[in-house]
Symmetry: C2
Subunit: 593 residues, 2 copies
């Protein structure tokens, strides 16, 4: 099973009210059956075309013979099946050739693909992001030239930001673009870690490249965005001659192996033809407008892998006999399944809390994306955008950290078998290890949260978050899970106030524990997500759910209880250190290490 | 650099008083120069014969063509170099062909080999353990037949405990031994995850196998230990005919790839000739007498990999320029090395605390092994043995958990590069992921600590531990690090008392959070280890250390400060839950997952 289908239904239709989207004008032509059929298609295509080669792609990673990149053939079949099912354009309007489907539903679909094979899914994931950038910011002629082919799957796309000389410090990038007399640009420089940067699955690859136009200001304010296709288009929009983009080499990764990770050289033969997207020097701004969605995508990938790990570990724990309870050591009695052991149950409970908590968080964030686009009032849309903006650092990092931990626990539950490549657990860990790194490391996200997001627009997003949590706490009146979250919220407020004062006084010191603060905020946020799930489940139980349904809801309530007990427990210690401005890290001199 | 040589000198000669061993009778013929030369040899052999093929062995794991196992040739050269340097027998007396060197010194030597290439080091590590078992418990004829060849490296050894049908539950093993008319046994059954179980590096492989003699009692009380060589010996102790032991297949692991992990079939052609070690039905007891040392070995392996990861990450962080301080965002200024970023420094500090704390802990435990063997008074030897017995679960698991975390942090510090196989960090993580699993998982160690070790011999080991920590706290009078450890010790006592009562009342419930307790105990234990290091360092600083020496000691003191602040902070939350007998895990029904 790729995902727990019952849980996905719960998250979409009970935890979130996805059906209510049908009342919005954009979705007036859809109905619940369309939503469910879309999910069904995703599950089927993922099961049939993605899952079967997940292990094979890991063991047979892409190779480069100096001329061409070789991928296992199943990758292309999967790409085609994804495209044929319409997912490359599904979020776009009917008028643009899309299916006009809501963000939150499509994210749920992506969860199936991620769970099945995240390395192969990276190709469409990146292509969708690249097409989005063109759609949102490029001129009509660029849109017409590239989007239909990207929507149909003839062309794929990449995002080319990172360079060998700078990783997270985008402001220092050195790829240069020079205006040519033909009105376009000639681009030269090297990009690194470009996923999907070369292959022969599609007729063309459309690179979205950040570069600095000759004479542009230094830093982030001098960066522009370009479309640089692998092949130029001829006069009839067909494939023309090769552009000056060359694969310098493949990078060999710990996981995500079936995704090519490339070093690309632009302009080694005079300059790659590059088409400016939007206005000069605004490239980073465009990129950041898409960033929230890309970061939810990373969180969702981590959540999906965690869910897969949980599914496998749970199935194994239920069928593997080993040992006996402490109170029943008689060796002549039958062994119990390892799920009967308290420590295995503890690990499964942690996995469930992390995996399902992550998935719920990412779908909730996707519903905010949806709201920011399709709510009626502009004020409500702006509120959703502000709240999303604040929460994005946690949506990206919490699943990446705790989803990875869920994968680690999956290995541990299987013991020696979990450590072997004969079982899928270790690959899930290796694949997931990328997620705390790409699209902004944990350290970057912490700085973004504490140094930027908290105070942006007068702290509007933060105020909205507090309101939302307080609303839930009111609804939870009388519920035993209310108190721990209420205390955690008070702790978060106290720490936030203190750190904001510290940052004002001395930004270097004040921001020095931003990653710890990010973790603390994430724990409270996911505590809220779990309380909301528990409230819905409790309501269903009170309404008389029985049998498997009752088990499902009890599982939700009990996992929330575990979360409140154990995952909020470390807050007090961290809060004390943060409020005291503990400076152990910055006090440690370089030469003392 | 394999290890920080200065740190190793500090741990052996300042933190521990290894030089004082020269006063013991067994080491009367040695001097400090011999100790240092031994360390130098280990460093040199590890650098020359082990480190260079660490990556190659990972990328070219052993293969089995149905007849023979193929390993890269460097593995055999490394084995030979290790044997030629005398390390296979170094711990044994001169009279037995050994070098009569102390345990703690040889463990430090093993740290070099582990850091260089833990997968290749597994072969001698296991062989030393197997030879130890024969030496300690086998009859003279078995000792004479096998030990000289094992000490010289002509034969290697394995430990064959696990079976496909039972992992941690040794009492349920099913390999059978039948007494043959020739006075020896015929053994049949299957063993799994047997490291070094087949290869052609040595003339013979001596398997130490746990099996049940026909008619033996069920459970742990009916297990016997056998020597089962791959080749029988002929009348002149030369290699005779093949024994009935067959390689059923190789297992493919996440890391440790150059160590063959095997499934071995015994007795498919009528029964493998097996020689009983010691008395019937006492096999598990013999195994457990060696277990403390094997478990320190696992902890030390984890510590060594953590130290390697720290070395690499530190070097990278010092030379990789990227970004600027929050207070100096002017893009025209030079980028700083990433060690200047607070979050990178935080991660390096955690790495240092985990890596050096683990190494110190394992060497301290090795000094207890030494004391248990060579202290003058039998009472003092017994005390050392009791203390070691108590601490072994933490010595095995704390480095395995936190050393692994150090490897994870190493990846994160390098970012995208850390995730690639072009850098050594990701392999270090994959190699280290085994250590929380083998030689008793974390869950098993927690049960061992709380269910067995704490109360054994009337709680003697625990009382000794408290005494030792209180002694250090007295010595730390006036030191600002005293207070946090003192509070942590009080917490540990309170939790221990509470849990012991809970176990007495209801073992299943009382033991249900044993793994959490193990972690809590481990944190306090390593806090003590760090305080002791800080006291030594403070003394050296007060005595006027300057320059690089002062930097080194400041690093120790400051890392201890970090540890007290941050690593003891979560204790209170966990203690509250443990004392309350929190039962979130066992209350979660199987069908609720």
């Amino acid at each position: 099973m790729l995902l727990d289908d019952r849980d996905l239904q719960f998250l979409l239709y009970e935890f979130l009210d996805t059906e209510a989207l049908l009342e919005r004008e954009r979705y007036a032509e859809h109905d619940r059956a369309v939503f469910d059929a879309t999910l069904g298609t995703a599950r089927q295509v993922a099961s049939e075309f993605f899952a079967p080669h997940n292990h094979k792609g890991d063991s047979n990673e892409p190779t480069f013979d100096g001329e061409r990149v070789h991928l296992i053939a199943e990758t292309r079949y999967a790409w085609n099946a994804f495209a044929d099912a319409g997912f490359l354009a599904a979020q776009h309007d009917f008028a643009d050739g899309g299916l006009q489907l809501p963000e939150v539903l499509l994210r749920a679909c992506m969860a199936y693909f991620n769970a099945a094979n995240i390395a192969t899914t990276a190709y469409p994931f990146l292509s969708i992001g690249a097409a989005n950038l063109i759609k949102s910011f490029a001129c009509p002629s660029l849109r017409e030239a590239f989007l239909p082919a990207m929507f149909s799957g003839r062309f794929s796309g990449t995002m080319a930001l990172t360079e060998p000389g700078q990783g997270s410090a985008l402001g220092d990038l050195r790829t240069r673009a020079v205006l040519h007399e033909d009105g376009d640009y000639r681009l030269s420089g090297q990009k690194m870690f470009i996923s999907g940067g070369d292959h022969e699955m599609t007729e063309n690859i459309v690179h979205l490249v950040l570069a600095r136009i000759e004479g542009a200001p230094a830093g982030v304010k001098g960066i522009s965005l370009f479309v640089v296709p692998k092949f130029l288009l001829d006069a009839e929009s067909g494939i023309g001659k090769r552009n000056d983009v060359a694969l310098a080499g493949l990078i060999h990764k710990m996981g995500y192996r079936n995704t090519t990770s490339t070093v690309l050289s632009f302009g080694e033969r005079g300059g790659a033809v590059a088409y400016l997207v939007g206005e000069p020097h605004k490239g980073l701004g465009y990129m950041f407008q898409m960033m929230n969605e890309a970061r939810i995508g990373v969180g969702l990938g981590a959540a999906s892998l965690a869910c897969q790990s949980y599914q496998h570990a749970l199935a194994y724990a239920r069928e593997r006999p080993q040992g006996r309870h402490a109170s029943a050591r008689d060796p002549s009695t039958r062994q119990v399944a390892i799920i009967e052991h308290a420590d295995v149950r503890r690990m499964l409970l942690m996995q469930k809390a992390y995996a399902q908590g992550s998935l719920a968080l990412c779908l909730y964030a996707s519903s905010l994306v949806e709201d920011a686009h399709t709510l009626d009032s502009s004020e409500a849309r702006e509120d959703a955008a502000q709240l999303l903006d604040l929460l994005t650092p946690m949506v990206k990092t919490w699943p990446s950290r705790y989803g990875l931990l869920a994968c680690d626990l999956g290995i541990q539950i299987l013991g020696g078998s979990g450590y072997t490549r004969e079982y899928p657990l270790e690959q899930l860990y290796r694949d997931n290890r990328l997620n705390p790194i790409h699209e902004g490391t944990e350290g970057i996200q912490g700085l973004d949260l504490l140094g930027r997001k908290l105070g942006s627009k007068g702290g509007k997003g933060y105020a909205l978050f507090l309101q939302q949590v307080e609303l839930t706490l009111e609804q939870a009146s009388g519920n035993e899970l209310r108190q721990p979250l209420s205390e955690a919220l008070a702790t978060l407020k106290e720490v936030t106030d203190s750190l904001q004062r510290q940052v004002e006084q001395d930004p270097d010191h004040g921001l020095s524990n931003a990653t710890v603060y990010l973790d603390l905020f994430g724990r409270v946020l996911v505590g809220w997500i779990w309380l909301r799930q528990a409230l819905v489940a409790t309501q269903a139980l009170n309404a008389g759910a029985s049998g498997d349904e009752a088990d499902f809801y009890h599982g939700k309530v009990h996992t929330a209880r575990y979360y409140m007990d154990w995952e909020l427990a470390p807050l007090a210690g961290a809060a004390r250190l943060l409020c005291a401005g503990n400076s152990a890290n910055i006090d440690m001199h370089n030469r003392w290490f």
